[in-house]
Amino acid sequence: MSYSPHTAADRERMLAAIGVGSVDDLFADIPAAVRATRFELPPPLAEQEVRAELNRLAGQNRIPQVSFLGAGVYRHLVPSVVSEVIGRAEFSTSYTPYQPEVSQGTLQSIYEFQSLICELTGMEVATASHYDGATATAEAALMACRLTRRHRIAISTAVNPQVRHVLATYCAGPGIEIVEVAADTAEGGTGLTAPAVAAGLLSDDCACLIAQQPNMFGGIEPMAELADAAHAAGALMVAVVEPTSLALLAAPGSYGADIVAAEGQPLGIPASYGGPYVGLMAARMDSVRQMPGRLVGATRDGQGRKGYVLTLQAREQHIRREKAASNICTNQALCALAAATFLSAVGPEGLRELADLSAVQARHAAAAIESAGLGERRFSAPYFAEVAIRIPDAARRHAALADQGIVAGYPLERDYPELADTLLLAATELTTDADIDALIAGLESTR
């Protein structure tokens, strides 16, 4: 039944104190015309029955033995210490820290998270997190519109399609126009966004240019030149980045990004069929008042002790209401804690090892496919840890391999009709040499 501790005697006592005969009397003010006429739910289950049901559902999934699937969500090791920390009830069963005196654990861990994201991205201020990378990017675009007072945004088609779909939904309400900057997906193309092409499309009413690093095809974009093109048009540069790549790739703050958005899932958060994840956002200090979401700041108490509080709350919905920068109420605190614990656990050396191993194995896989004559790289540009490979009859072979428990990446044709027979293969630190051998064997067997 429910987790209520109340016995019949407890209920009697409460009813007597209240002065009503039965609990139904407490619901007498629901107009008869709108009372529920049905509530046909399954019967309650004891814990062993609940476990059996969840095991049944888990058993209906077939987690692949070998997977090269990325496309925005990456299989990484979740270190035991991360699971341990977020499993602590003091972190997981507490609420938003509106009473800071009894929430210093949450508040300080968010301050550390903000610090870590600033350091990783090379930016001056980071928020306490957002729902996911896609919504963080949408919020960044709206923020750019507020800062520049312009109503149009330019975005590369090499930004993850999930992100672009969410952006379109968020822009519909305020009537913000979206201009697409086509990435070079032509035969023999780079797979990148050309700064000259971006410059040509950046009209003087564009609030920002949004580009992704590495991009949807794994390619390493010319971010500094794209930022220059944006600035030349009076627009802001919004960089959407993959956080583990920042161990090896330049920090956005170093190439002129004005706002950074990212999906933080690779930082110690399981794939979990799409969520919960954690959106990252960072910017320069001079735009902090236009940043949506929560911020934690350091201060002191009356006895000279250092403490942390939610601050600059006048931006937020519970104060500004219809004039708020955004309607956000929750951040993703427990996921942000996972990311902060992860970054602290791996340190700069660990993150570099992770990124290096991912990059090596992606190249190893691409080389193995090419040397076996099974396919070739679709684009010429260098990549980080994801690469687009053209393989004949890819759709059939991808499905056949999935049946065998091998997911051979993401079929790009789903979002890019011009990229038929092209699979996006991702490698991470979990990709073993045996995995690559299995992929090759699988592709051979489905020729």
């Binding site: 008042r289 709350q313 006048a314 104060i319 500004r320 004039k323």
Partner: protein, 128 residues
């Protein structure tokens, strides 16, 4: 909370004050407003050259827990803003009638002052 209202100026129902200084009108908020808001942490000042219309919004004042629009008590173009408020918004709490002035505008229509309250009338408004 200050109980003596300067009588060298006029007051709006929205708790702004305006004082004539030559051809300029100096604008600020009253101690009543500052007290209601609590410790002020930020002021969004108008831009130089902006044209203000009487009784329309021209800026924002933020405290830790509240936010307020500023409404221009008179019309005019913004000639000067109090840069001190950027680094020390608390001036609005400590000296709202003096060092905490917000902006100076070139007064476009002196007759607008007639629509505002004198010190006594404002004191009555805020007494209740």
């Amino acid at each position: 909370m200050s109980t003596t209202l300067p009588d060298d100026r006029r007051y709006s129902r929205e708790h702004e004050w305006v004082r004539i200084e030559g051809s300029m009108a100096v604008i600020g908020i009253t101690s009543f407003a500052a007290d209601e808001l609590g410790d002020i942490v930020y002021v969004e000042l108008p831009e130089l050259g902006a044209t203000l219309a009487q009784f329309s919004s021209f800026g924002v004042v933020e405290s830790v827990k509240a936010v307020s629009d500023l409404f221009a008590p008179v019309s005019g173009d913004v000639a000067e803003v109090n840069e001190e408020l950027r680094g020390s918004p608390e001036l609005l709490n400590t000296d709202p009638f003096g060092a905490g002035w917000i902006a100076k505008v070139t007064l476009s229509d002196a007759a607008e002052m007639e629509q505002l309250l004198d010190a006594a009338a404002y004191a009555e408004l805020t007494a209740g």
